[in-house]
C-alpha cells in the first residue's frame, strides 16, 4: 500500500509526549476528520446502544468515526455477502466513518481460545473462530473505512508468561503480514486503511519490539492492545506506552484499546495516545449511573479572594481509588462494572425527589428535558427509557470531556484538568465547612456515611460548587 490517505496533523506536542491535532483524510472520499485526542463512537452493530438515529442526533459533536466490532458483525457475514453494499449501507449509516475492531472493549472474551493461526470472537450464537483468511473475507464484506489487523491480544491477564507474550507479538506480526498481503491484492479493499496492533503485555522489551516491527509495515496507524482497564496499574501502563511511542512514527495515530476511564484517559494522553474507544459511557449507562464529574477548567480556583481548592491526595502506595465501592479501601482492579467516582448512582433513594437535571448546565436532551427523580423512577421500574436517556447524557458528557481535554492541551491547562479530576468527588453535592475542619461529605457521596476509606486526605478547605 502506498502512502495512506489518513494524515495526522499535529498542532502541538506538549512536553514531547501529549499530542494535539486532527486526523484527516478519513473515509473513502477522505473528507472526514477527527480531532485528537479524541474518542470513537461505540456501537453494537453500528447502532449506539439504546439509541435510534433521532435520539442519537440530539447530541452535538458526535465523533465522526463509529467503531464496529467483529464480535457483533462476524455472524452476519453471509447476509453482508448477499447484500453486497458493505456494512455502512446495511446499517443505515450514511455520513460516518467506520472503524472495525476485532473485539468489543465492553465485553471481555474468555481466554484460552487463541491458537497460532486463529483468534476467536463471540457473537450472539457463540464462538466464531477466525483465521486470517476468514478475517479478511469478513472485512471485504464489511468494507470499513479502516480496520485493525487480526491480533493475538490474550495477554491482559496478569501473570502471563514471558514466553506467551513473545508469542503474542510474533503471531500478531505474522497475522499483520498476512492481512496486508491479502489486502493489497484485494479490489474490494481499495482505499481501506489498516492499523497494526502492538502487543507484548507488560514486558517493556516485547512492547518495544512489537512497536518497532509493526512500524516497519505499511500501516496507517497503531492500536495498542493488552492495556485494558484492570490489566495493569496506570504507572506501568504509562511507562509502557511511552516506550512504545518512542518506536512509532510521530505522524501516525495511536489508538489505545480498552481504556475509557477519564483519569486513565488523561494519563494515557500524557503518555502519547491519540484515540480511545468510546465504550465507557455505555458501561456507566448499564449500571444505571450518570457521568457527573466536572471538567470545567474555566473555573480558575486560584481566583483572588477565594479560598484555594482542596486537593484530595491519594496515597500512592495504597493505590486506593475512592469510589471503587470498597469502603475499607481495597483495590478493585479489573472489574469494569464497578461504579467509579465519576458518576452518580441514580438508583439510590436519595434521588427519589431530586428535581435537578443530571448535571447542572449540561445541554444534552436528557438534562434539558428530564430530572434525576424521573430517571430514578425509570430505573426503579426497569423502564427501557432509562437506558435511552442515560446513554444520551453519558455520551454527551464524555464527548464534552474530550473537548475540554483538547482545549486544555491547546492552552497549557492540562494541570488544571488533572486537579479537577482529583477533586471530582466534591462536585456533585454541596458541602458545609465546619469550624473545626470539614464534613466528610466526600464520603457520603460514595454512600459511606461515616466510614472512612484508608485514604490520606490533605485538605485545607473544600471549594464550594454553585
Amino acid at each position: 500500500m502506498a502512502g495512506s490517505r489518513i494524515k495526522l496533523e499535529l498542532s502541538r506536542v506538549v512536553q514531547g509526549e501529549s499530542r494535539l491535532g486532527v486526523l484527516k483524510g478519513l473515509g473513502r472520499t477522505g473528507q472526514h476528520c477527527l480531532e485528537v485526542p479524541g474518542c470513537l463512537l461505540y456501537s453494537h452493530l453500528g447502532t449506539v446502544p439504546h439509541l435510534t438515529q433521532d435520539t442519537l442526533h440530539t447530541l452535538k459533536n458526535i465523533p465522526a468515526v463509529t467503531q464496529v466490532t467483529l464480535s457483533s458483525v462476524a455472524e452476519h457475514q453471509e447476509v453482508l455477502q448477499e447484500f453486497k453494499g458493505g456494512f455502512k449501507k446495511f446499517a443505515g449509516l450514511h455520513d460516518t466513518v467506520v472503524y472495525c475492531s476485532l473485539h468489543d472493549p465492553a465485553a471481555l472474551c474468555p481466554p484460552g481460545y487463541t491458537t497460532n493461526k486463529t483468534v476467536s470472537v463471540w457473537g450472539s450464537g457463540g464462538r466464531i473462530e477466525l483465521t486470517v483468511a476468514k478475517f479478511m473475507a469478513i472485512q471485504k464484506t464489511i468494507q470499513p473505512d479502516w480496520y485493525q489487523s487480526m491480533a493475538d491480544g490474550e495477554t491482559w491477564q496478569s501473570n502471563t508468561s514471558r514466553k506467551r507474550l513473545r508469542k503474542s507479538v510474533d503471531r500478531t506480526l505474522a497475522h499483520l503480514d498476512e492481512c496486508l498481503t491479502i489486502h493489497q491484492n484485494s479490489q474490494d479493499l481499495q482505499g481501506v486503511e489498516v492499523f497494526g496492533v502492538v502487543e507484548g503485555g507488560d514486558i517493556l522489551e516485547e512492547r518495544a519490539r512489537s512497536a518497532r516491527e509493526t512500524a516497519k509495515r505499511p500501516v496507517a496507524g497503531f492500536c495498542l492492545d493488552g492495556f485494558q482497564t484492570g490489566s495493569m496499574d496506570q504507572t506501568l501502563r504509562t511507562q509502557l506506552i511511552k516506550a512504545i511511542a518512542k518506536e512509532l512514527p510521530e505522524d501516525k495515530p495511536r489508538l489505545l484499546q480498552g481504556v475509557g476511564r477519564p483519569d486513565e484517559v488523561l494519563a494515557c494522553v500524557e503518555a502519547g495516545v491519540d484515540l480511545f474507544e468510546g465504550f465507557f459511557p455505555f458501561q456507566v449507562t448499564e449500571r444505571g449511573c450518570a457521568l457527573s464529574f466536572s471538567f470545567d477548567i474555566s473555573l480558575d480556583p486560584e481566583r483572588a479572594g477565594r479560598a484555594p481548592p482542596a486537593v484530595l491526595e491519594l496515597n500512592d502506595d495504597e493505590t486506593c481509588r475512592a469510589g471503587e465501592g470498597q469502603p475499607n479501601g481495597e483495590v478493585t482492579d479489573g472489574d469494569q462494572t464497578q461504579m467509579t467516582s465519576f458518576e452518580i448512582n441514580l438508583k439510590d433513594k436519595r434521588y427519589h425527589d431530586d428535581f435537578r437535571p443530571l448535571v447542572e448546565g449540561c445541554g444534552c436532551y436528557c438534562c434539558v428535558n428530564h430530572q434525576r427523580a424521573y430517571l430514578h423512577h425509570l430505573l426503579v421500574t426497569n423502564e427501557l427509557l432509562a437506558g435511552v436517556l442515560l446513554m444520551i447524557h453519558n455520551t454527551a458528557h464524555y464527548i464534552g470531556f474530550f473537548s475540554t481535554l483538547r482545549e486544555a492541551l491547546a492552552n497549557d491547562k492540562l494541570d488544571l484538568l488533572k486537579r479537577r479530576q482529583v477533586i471530582l468527588i466534591a462536585t456533585s453535592f454541596s458541602v458545609t465547612v465546619t469550624p473545626d475542619g470539614f464534613e466528610s461529605a466526600a464520603l457520603s457521596h460514595l454512600g459511606m456515611e461515616s466510614k472512612h476509606p484508608r485514604v490520606k486526605i490533605n485538605m485545607t478547605l473544600i471549594w464550594l460548587q454553585e
Partner: protein, 391 residues
C-alpha cells in the same frame, strides 16, 4: 360541567362513524384516535419528543402503577404526570380498575373499594373510588376514568349484575371526589358484561350523570367476538352523540376499523407497543415477525410505503440482525407500530371527512386478508349491521 368539547367535524351517512375534534386542556385531539399506553409514565423506550414527532396527541398513564411507584405525592411535586414525564400534550389515566382483573390474584373487592396486595412489599392498599380520584387529581391527567367494578368478560352470573350496579354507585362517588372538574374530565365506564339488559340498565343510569365522556368497559377480555361487537353497538346506540365514546382495551387494526364504524371515537391498547418488543411489526397486511429467520436477508424496509423513521432508514434484515445485538431494535419496531396505529386512524378519519368511509373499510379488509372467505365472520356481521357489505 366543563368539556371536553367534542366538536363534530363529519358523520358517516352510512355507518355510525364520526370524526370529531376533542378540545382538551393540553391540545386538540382529532378523533377517531388511538392512544398509545405509557403505563409507568413512559412509553417503553420512546422519548416524548419521538412520540410527539409521530403525531401523538394523547397517551395513557396508569393510576395503579404510578400510585405505587413513585406515588401521587412525588408526582404532584413534579407538577403532575405531565411535568414528571415532560409530556406536553394530553394524558388519560385509567383508574386502576382493570388491574382488578389482570392482577386478580392480588385483589379483593367490596363496596368500599379494591384491596390490593402490593407485589413489591406485600403491603395491602385499598383503592377506593375516592383514592383513585385523589391519585388521578395528583397526576393531573386531562381525562380521568372512574373506578369501576370490573369483572372479566368471561364471567357470568350474579357477579356481573353486582358489578354493574356498584360501578354506578362508584361513579357517583368519583364525581363527588373530583377536586378539579374544570381541568380534569372524568369519564364514566359502562359495564354490564355481555348481558344486553344489564348494559342497557347501566347506560340508562350513567347517561343521567353529567359527565364529559363515556367509556365502554368490561369488554376486550377474551370474550367471543360475536358478543363483543353486539355490546359495543348497543352501547353506542344509547350514548349521547355530542360526547366522546372511548372503547377501552381495543387495538387490533380490524377491531379499530369495525368499532369506528359502530360509533366509537377513542381507543387504547398495549398490544402494538408490547408486540413490538417481541419483534412483531404491524403492517397493512397483518404483521411481520422481524426476528424470524426468513427476514435475515430481506433488504426491504418493514413497509415500503410507511413514512416512519424506522422504515425510512432501516431494512428488515438490519433489524433482524440488530435484535441479536442491542435493545434499540425494540425501539425501532415500537416507533413503527405506533406510527402504523396513528396513521391508520388518521386515514380512517380522513375517509370519514371525505365521505368515503365505507370504501375505505372495503379496501382495508382487502389488504388485510388474502381473500374474502378469510374475513372474520364477526366483522362481516358487525359491518353489515351498519350497512357496509363486504364482498
Amino acid at each position: 360541567e366543563a368539556g371536553p368539547n367534542c366538536n363534530s367535524v363529519a358523520e358517516c351517512p352510512v355507518t355510525k362513524a364520526r370524526a370529531c375534534d376533542l378540545i382538551l386542556p393540553h391540545s386538540a385531539v382529532s378523533t377517531p384516535v388511538f392512544m398509545p399506553v405509557g403505563t409507568q409514565g413512559t412509553l417503553k423506550g420512546i422519548t416524548v419528543d419521538q412520540l410527539d414527532g409521530l403525531g401523538c396527541q394523547i397517551c395513557l398513564g396508569n393510576t395503579y402503577h404510578l400510585g405505587m411507584r413513585p406515588g401521587p405525592d412525588l408526582i404532584e411535586k413534579a407538577n403532575g404526570l405531565h411535568g414528571f414525564m415532560n409530556w406536553k400534550k394530553n394524558l388519560l389515566t385509567d383508574s386502576g380498575g382493570f388491574q382488578m382483573v389482570s392482577l386478580v390474584e392480588l385483589s379483593e373487592v367490596n363496596e368500599e373499594g379494591v384491596k390490593f396486595k402490593s407485589p413489591y412489599d406485600g403491603k395491602e392498599i385499598l383503592l377506593s373510588p375516592e383514592k383513585s380520584i385523589s391519585i388521578q387529581n395528583s397526576l393531573g391527567s386531562d381525562i380521568m376514568m372512574q373506578l369501576d367494578d370490573v369483572v372479566s368478560s368471561t364471567v357470568t352470573g350474579p357477579r356481573v349484575e353486582e358489578a354493574m350496579h356498584r360501578s354506578i354507585r362508584w361513579l357517583d362517588r368519583c364525581i363527588a371526589a373530583n377536586k378539579n372538574p374544570d381541568k380534569q374530565n372524568l369519564f364514566a365506564i359502562i359495564q354490564g358484561g355481555l348481558n344486553a339488559d344489564l348494559r342497557k340498565a347501566c347506560l340508562d343510569e350513567m347517561t343521567q350523570r353529567n359527565v364529559p365522556g363515556f367509556a365502554i368497559g368490561g369488554l376486550s377480555g377474551g370474550e367471543e367476538k360475536d358478543d363483543f361487537w353486539r355490546m359495543v353497538t348497543l352501547s353506542t346506540d344509547h350514548l349521547p352523540r355530542e360526547k366522546p365514546r372511548y372503547l377501552m382495551g381495543v387495538g387490533y387494526a380490524v377491531d379499530l376499523v369495525v368499532c369506528v364504524a359502530l360509533g366509537c371515537d377513542m381507543f387504547d391498547c398495549v398490544f402494538p407497543t408490547r408486540t413490538a418488543r417481541f419483534g412483531s411489526a404491524l403492517v397493512p397486511w397483518g404483521s411481520l415477525q422481524v426476528k424470524h429467520k426468513q427476514y435475515a436477508k430481506d433488504f426491504q424496509p418493514i413497509d415500503p410505503d410507511c413514512p416512519c423513521p424506522t422504515c425510512k432508514r432501516h431494512s428488515r434484515a438490519y433489524l433482524h440482525a440488530l435484535f441479536k445485538s442491542d435493545t434499540s431494535a425494540m425501539h425501532h419496531i415500537t416507533i413503527h407500530n405506533i406510527a402504523y396505529q396513528l396513521t391508520l386512524m388518521r386515514s380512517v378519519r380522513q375517509s370519514i371527512v371525505d365521505g368515503r368511509f365505507p370504501e375505505f373499510i372495503r379496501s382495508f379488509m382487502k389488504q388485510m386478508f388474502p381473500s374474502p372467505d378469510q374475513y372474520p365472520s364477526w366483522a362481516v356481521d358487525a359491518l353489515a349491521s351498519v350497512n357496509v357489505t363486504l364482498e
